[in-house]
Symmetry: C2
Subunit: 302 residues, 2 copies
């Protein structure tokens, strides 16, 4: 079963389209994982703490949401130990029945792009398919020919990509909306064209798009341009977007859009309004709130 | 000493601005490293062969060129074993007196971008500064605010970045030349503005640009827009560009541009015109030819 069908099924099973982002930012970790931020501690010990924290997040997500989205940067920070932790977190998520969207934002050309695709979607260089991501984020800045090797790998592996289209940060507009028509419309046309050749039985494509929930005014227009494209939407929660902002992203039946929250859940214990003290209770409460909120928005869009 | 000054000094010492790209593409490796392409071999053995091949390339580059440019994708393909090999190759290059430009093409926002910067330029999460790159390639697709965390790390670590501006592949033009004025001019203005705050004593900036040698018609215009920006130029050799194509990139004195060849050197033994048989002899000859050719172009520009 290819990625959009697995995704559609996982969303239906969970009853919501939420993604828990796994960003083990060492400065924000709960105190019980404080060794991770000790520069003087052996790298292996620091990474063991990070792995333990991520495992707790995976366990929190399991059965509640369809997918998790680990962020590569926080693992790369610890070199080969971090890479091993990345593999372990992915394997644990898969064992827990979660889809894994690797937030790697990779891009390159020709056989180098193919190597990135194989590294993160292929899995067989590792000898263990459990540590391949179900989908990854990729950048369109090098052009459609640089996306092709990723799509070739998707065809073989059944994986998916989410192409960066409109990211959630304020400065993105300078680049992504440059020109007339804005660059993002041109990229959307490429995503639509490439995606038509990788449709699942559910009618959605293996070629998705990253559309920041903070770009409220553009979301309905992008959904019009991209009727078959799964949207991955960062920016909910910590970055300020609400469920009202994302409503236009859903297809009939509340399908076709994934809403991500990373720090708003994992580090909810750092917020003043939190009435509970243990980080995991705070995260659990924040995730349950998000699920109820996003589910309502998806239903309203039906 | 910050990156542009180290670079300027290394170029002067080597007497040429050539970079040897380290792309351990398993399908192309010489037969003595064939275990690297055996899916059934243990991952550790495959990676040991890759590491040995890269070590030979580092030894070939040492004393001949100012820098090497390892390509992350081919290491990521092997997970944590690959990440360990990446660290070893970087350390070996540093021990050999070479600068290391990590071709990682990373991009993200805020503290995630900071984690990438720290991972690849900072080195201290690893407890070993030898395995930090001297500079890395980064993508501008997320906007200037997403580049800032990389520059913050450059300020602290003395490292540099090469921002993707005009890549060497045919499809890049759709995105990078979109709009009027073309997007790449807008990105060039950002690179110039950000770079002015990170100038070395040599007058060049820590903020460089990737300008494919295949974009011959645009190079002189970009050099005009970017008088203080080191150019990293892929596309020479295997991708078809010649020394005539790159001449306009050099500043007076033949300074300010680095010319990279990866496969044209490392895999020269695969070319029909090669009269020598051992891969390393073929690579050595190809590198010496490139150095003579590029040195002449840089001198002609003086």
């Amino acid at each position: 079963m290819i990625f959009p069908d697995r995704l559609d099924q996982s969303i239906a099973r969970a009853g919501n389209p939420c993604v828990l982002g796994i960003d083990p930012h060492v400065a924000l970790l709960p105190d019980e994982f404080a060794v991770a931020r000790e520069p003087s501690a052996p790298r292996g010990e620091r990474v063991a703490a990070i792995t333990a924290f991520c495992a707790e997040l995976v366990d929190l997500a399991a059965g509640r949401v369809p997918a998790v989205k680990p962020q590569s940067a926080f693992f790369e920070l610890f070199g080969s130990d971090g890479a091993l932790a990345w593999e372990r977190v992915i394997a644990r998520a898969h064992d827990a029945g979660l889809l894994v969207i690797g937030d790697v934002k990779r891009a390159d050309i020709a056989s180098t792009a193919a190597a990135y695709a194989q590294a993160h979607l292929g899995g067989d260089a590792h000898g263990d398919a459990r540590i391949a991501c179900d989908a990854i984020t990729v950048s369109p800045f090098l052009g459609a020919d640089a996306l092709e090797p990723f799509l070739d790998t998707c065809r073989r592996s059944g994986g998916g990509v989410f192409v960066l289209l409109r990211t959630s940060n304020p400065g993105a507009v300078e680049i992504q909306a440059h020109g007339v028509p804005p660059l993002f419309e041109r990229i959307a046309a490429t995503i639509d064209a490439l995606g038509r050749e990788l449709l699942g039985a559910c009618g959605l494509s293996s070629v998705g798009a990253v559309v920041g929930a903070t770009n409220r005014k553009e979301i309905a227009g992008l959904r019009n341009l991209l009727p078959r494209t799964p949207f991955l939407m960062p920016g909910y929660g910590a970055q300020g977007a609400s469920s009202a902002d994302i409503a236009a992203a859903f297809l009939p039946g509340g399908r076709g859009a994934l809403v991500n929250s990373s720090r708003g859940v994992a580090f909810a214990f750092r917020e003043r309004s939190t009435t509970t003290h243990h980080w995991k209770d705070a995260a659990c409460l924040a995730l349950d709130r998000m699920i109820a909120d996003v589910r309502a928005a998806a239903k309203a869009a039906s």
